[in-house]
Structure formats: C-alpha cells, structure tokens
C-alpha cells in the first residue's frame, strides 16, 4: 500500500482475489455438505412428492390439472426454502465456521453476495425440480383417472412459484443475518409466516379499520394476491406489497447486512 516498502514487505500484487464464482460455488457446497442441509432439501422434495401422491388419490378428477399440481410445491417450498437459507447463514455463527469463512475472505460484503447467489441458485434449482415433479404429478393424475388440462397460467408460475418464494428466501436472509442464531431465526421465521398473518386475520375480523390497513403493514397478507387466483395483483395490491415489503423485507435486510458486516464472529 505505502510507497515506503520495508525490506520485509510482501508483494501480493501477483495474487488474484478469490473470484465471486468460486465463493458462490463454495457456499452452495456448504449448504449441501452437512446431513442437516442435504436432508432438508431431500425432505422438501420428498414432501412435495408425498402431497402430490395423496392429492392424486384424494382430489376430484376435474381438479387434477398441471395448474393444481404446481400449487403444491408453490406453498411447500414457501415454508421450507427459507430454512435452507437460515442454516446456510446462521451456521457461520452457530457452528462458528465464520471464523474460517471470514479469514479466507475478509471482505465480508463479498461473502454476503456469494450467499445471496448461492441461495438464489439453490432456490431456482429446487423450483425447477418442483416443476418437473408437478409434471410427473399430473401424469399420476391421469393415471388415477383425472381429466387433465396442461394449461399453465404465467401469473401462477411467476408470482406464486417464483416471486413469492424469492421473497421468502430473502426474508430468510434478513432474519438470519439479524438474529445470527439457527434456532432463533427458524422460530422467528415461523412466527413471521404463521403467527403474524393469523393475528392480522383475527384483528381484521373484529375491526374494519384493521382490515383496511392489514395488507399495508403485514407482508404475508399483502402477498396473498400473488399466491391466489387470478394471480394478477391490482395496482393497489402492488402498492401494498411494496409498502409491507419495505417494512418486513427491505428494512430487516439492510439492518441484517449491516450487522453481518460488523459482528464479531467468536
């Protein structure tokens, strides 16, 4: 750095920085190389298969369309993909391997980016597998006597499967960076995704005012136009997604990144 190089100065200029592609590849590996990580993903896909099989036998023959089958991973992944993310991030503190991660790449923002890339890549791969499973499910629907339609609504795929799950994994990122503890972040995620919308639902049932402001301040409620028919949110609904998303996604994400960049990994 300084021009007055001491005789013992080391010249690092011929060494390349660790490229982002390598960091991201390592992060993907880290999500899958423990029993917990591997079985979580196998478990998620297994659950999708299980529900599709049960659905094939239980549902009305007129409801066995590709459109119906694709909703199964749509909401299954929503509950569990964020857990994959939470484990990937919080293990740096809970399992303490952050000491090594951040000495091999001390510029922490690059690790944050690598984890985002890894998380999105994993989520997309699981989604592709889920779509394949939905197609197989539909075939099972035919086999079980279904009167099948292969029609697929773009809104369903983009909003319900892709966008809402992407939002989910970034909620996972935000919570894990803020809480930096595996169990704590998982509890917080389920509180956010299960308890919060029920509470808002109850309050909305007893108060008209709350029914009006609920979608503006509660992100799950705001997202329901994304995951329910006709899968095309109105302008006001988009505005609600943006406002509630600013509160529940953008703000925690910014605070979480700030915390991860500063925190002392012990």
């Amino acid at each position: 750095m300084s021009a007055t190089a001491a005789p013992t100065a080391i010249d690092f200029s011929s060494t390349q920085h660790v490229p982002m592609s390598r960091l991201a590849r390592v992060e993907i590996r880290k999500a899958l190389d423990t029993r917990a990580g591997r079985w979580l993903i196998i478990g998620i896909l297994g659950l999708v298969v299980l529900i599709e099989v049960i659905y094939s036998f239980a549902a009305d023959n007129s409801d066995k369309n590709l459109q119906d089958y694709i909703q199964i991973p749509g909401f299954t992944l929503g509950y569990f993909l964020p857990i994959v993310i939470i484990m990937l991030v919080t293990s740096e503190a809970s399992q303490r391997n952050g000491l090594v991660t951040f000495t091999l790449e001390p510029r922490r923002s690059r690790i944050v980016l690598a984890k985002f890339i890894a998380g999105v890549t994993l989520a997309l791969s699981v989604m592709v597998l889920a779509v394949i499973l939905a197609v197989l499910g539909t075939l099972l629907g035919i086999a079980t006597g279904g009167d099948v339609s292969w029609h697929l609504d773009g809104g369903l795929v983009f909003y319900a499967l892709f966008l809402s799950n992407m939002i989910g994994i970034f909620i996972g990122f935000a919570l894990s960076m803020l809480i930096m503890n595996t169990a704590g972040a998982i509890v917080a995620y389920f509180a956010y995704t299960l308890i919060l919308p029920s509470a808002v639902g109850i309050l909305s049932a007893i108060s008209d005012t709350f029914e009006k402001i609920g979608p503006w301040i509660e992100f799950n409620t705001a997202q329901s136009p994304l995951v329910s028919s006709p899968y095309s949110p109105t302008g006001e609904e988009w505005a609600q997604i943006v406002v509630a998303g600013a509160i529940w996604l953008v703000l925690p994400l910014v605070l979480g990144i700030g915390r991860l960049l500063r925190i002392e990994f012990k």
């Binding site: 750095m1 300084s2 190089a5 001491a6 013992t8 100065a9 080391i10 010249d11 690092f12 060494t15 390349q16 920085h17 660790v18 390598r22 960091l23 590849r25 390592v26 590996r29 880290k30 190389d33 423990t34 029993r35 917990a36 293990s91 399992q95 303490r96 391997n97 952050g98 000491l99 090594v100 951040f102 000495t103 091999l104 790449e105 001390p106 510029r107 002392e264 990994f265």
Partner: protein, 311 residues
C-alpha cells in the same frame, strides 16, 4: 513479517489489549505468551480482521489483512480448532478451504498426510474428533495454501506429547525455510523450546520481549539452592548473618543470592557440592512479570520445581 503498532482493543470500559506493539520477523518463531485472558486471542483476531481495533493497526508484509488478495495463500490462520461446522468431515473442511483458495484437491491429501490424520479419520465428522485431532486438522487447514506467515492461537492445546514434539519440528523447519511464525500459549514450556523470540503479555500489556537469553539476562537473583557436605553447619553460619535457610530436598533453600552463600561457605570453610540461583528461570520471570494479572494466589516461595540435588 507481522507488525503490530500501538494496538488497543476496548470492550466498553474494559481494555482487553492495551497499546501493544511488536514485530514478528521472517525466519523466526515468535512465541506469544501470557496467562488466560491476557489478550493473546484478541490481538490475533485483530491481525486477521475478525475484530476491529479500537486504536492502532496490524500489518502483514506491510498490508492490512483485509487488503491481502486470497489471504489463505499467504497467511495461515488457526484461531480455534473447534470453530468449524461440527457436521462436516475433516476432509470436507479441508476441501472447502482448498476450493475457496483455488487449490487442487490433491493438496487436501497432502495436508492430511502431513498432520498424520489417516483416511478413515478424515471421513469422520468434526463432532467426533478429539481436541488433539481437531488441532491437527486446524494446523492442516492453516498450511493448505502454503502461506509464508503462520498465525496460530494455542496450537499445542490438546496435542499429545508426541504431537507437541511433531509440531515443534514442523514450525521450526517452516521458519528455517523463511516463514514467519507467531504462536501463542499460556504454557511457558510449550513455547520455550520452539520460540526464537518471546513476547510476554499480561492484562493486555506487553510486559517483556526478546530472546530467551535476553529475557533472562535482566533477572536478579534473590534466592539460591545449595547443597553442602554439612548442610547443618552451613545453615547455622547463614543464620548468624541473619539469612534464612530452609531445608529443601537434599540441600537448602537460601534467601540470598548465590554470591552471598558462596562467600559464607568460604568464610567457614564449608565444602559445597552444588550452588545455583533458585529463581530467575523463565517460568519465574513469566510469573513475576504477569503477577498482577494472575488469577490465582501464588505461594510466597517461587514455584520452580528443582530442589537442591547433589550433582
């Protein structure tokens, strides 16, 4: 080369590291010695950018750690051998390190061989490793990128005696090849035999530094261990001068420097078979220098073990 300049790290009102400066030279093993809580780990954490300093800075080869590209290729770090995902196998931990640094996977096997972890052990998960095995894996991880600087926090912890000897040889030859080695310990005898240079730290402050000889040179001797043909006679002669002598082993422990004991023996014509300073060993120095940072009350007498045995 590692250069620590005026490093201070505070936690609230508590000063964990207090204006610490020292240099670790290439080709030498520097021992960083101090009792528990002295600030060794904190200093090393600042070196590798895990803890920001309150004041001062550390440079490695003239650069801040965070400015070193692919630092694993230049600086080998072992801060805490247990700080790895407990569910990963030893081999997987090294593989992740090698992949991050961009090394061929053959490097993983080389390192496993170097630290004598066999192939079955390498397939076990870290939670099933003993402390000594974790320590070996940690050393393997630090050496993966063939770095020119090594920073090891208490690497001998949990190693068996053979392991400690092995590590000693490893670090010595590493320094002989021009590497810079900094290793910490709270045990003097772990460091004494490997370190060319020693930094003594107590309560966050450097209390002494130098080679072993330099450290010992300044020490004043106040007690002696002596063995005479007639210990009783010598004891009496000393007591006449108002000097206390208490039996110790086959001789006496005397509260006076050796020169005073020698003089007395000459005056009374008492034949001595052994006479030496009882204090002034490195351990004594270590204990005295870090005295106010010790947790435990020490007995009035120095704790140096050897009693006056006839040579």
């Amino acid at each position: 080369m590692i250069k620590v300049e005026g490093l201070t790290r505070k936690y609230g009102a508590f000063t964990a590291v207090d204006d610490v400066s020292f240099v670790c030279q290439p080709g030498r093993v520097t021992g960083f010695l101090g009792p528990n809580g002295a600030g060794k780990t904190t200093t090393m954490r600042v070196m590798v950018g895990l803890t920001p300093p309150t004041q001062g800075r550390v440079t490695i080869g003239g650069h801040l750690y965070k400015d070193i590209p692919n630092p694993g290729r230049h600086v080998g770090v072992l801060l805490d051998a247990s700080a790895q995902h407990a569910g990963r196998t030893g081999r997987e931990i090294l593989t992740i390190g090698a992949q991050t640094m961009g090394l061929p996977l053959s490097r993983v096997d080389e390192m496993l061989d170097l630290v004598s972890l066999d192939r079955t052990e390498a397939t076990r998960r870290l939670r099933n490793y003993s402390l000594g095995m974790k320590q070996r894996l940690g050393i393997a991880h630090a050496l993966l990128g063939d770095p020119s600087v090594l920073i090891l926090d208490e690497p001998a912890n949990g190693l068996d005696p053979a392991g400690i000897r092995w590590m000693r040889g490893l670090l010595k030859s590493y320094a002989d090849r021009g590497g810079t080695v900094l290793l910490s310990s709270h045990l003097l005898n772990e460091v004494e035999q490997i370190a060319d240079e020693m930094i003594l730290i107590g309560r966050g402050r450097i209390v002494a530094e130098g080679t072993k000889d330099q450290l010992l040179a300044g020490a004043e001797h106040k007690t002696s261990l002596v063995t005479a043909l007639d210990n009783e006679l010598l004891s009496k002669a000393l007591q006449e001068k108002g000097i206390t002598a208490t039996p110790a082993g086959s001789g006496l422990r005397v509260d006076a420097p050796p020169v005073e004991v020698g003089r007395t023996s000459v005056e009374h014509g008492i034949v001595l078979t052994d006479l030496r300073a009882a204090d002034g060993g490195l351990e004594e120095l270590f204990l005295t220098l870090t005295e106010d940072s010790q947790r435990d009350e020490l007995p009035g007498q120095p704790t140096t073990a050897p009693e006056g045995t006839a040579a």
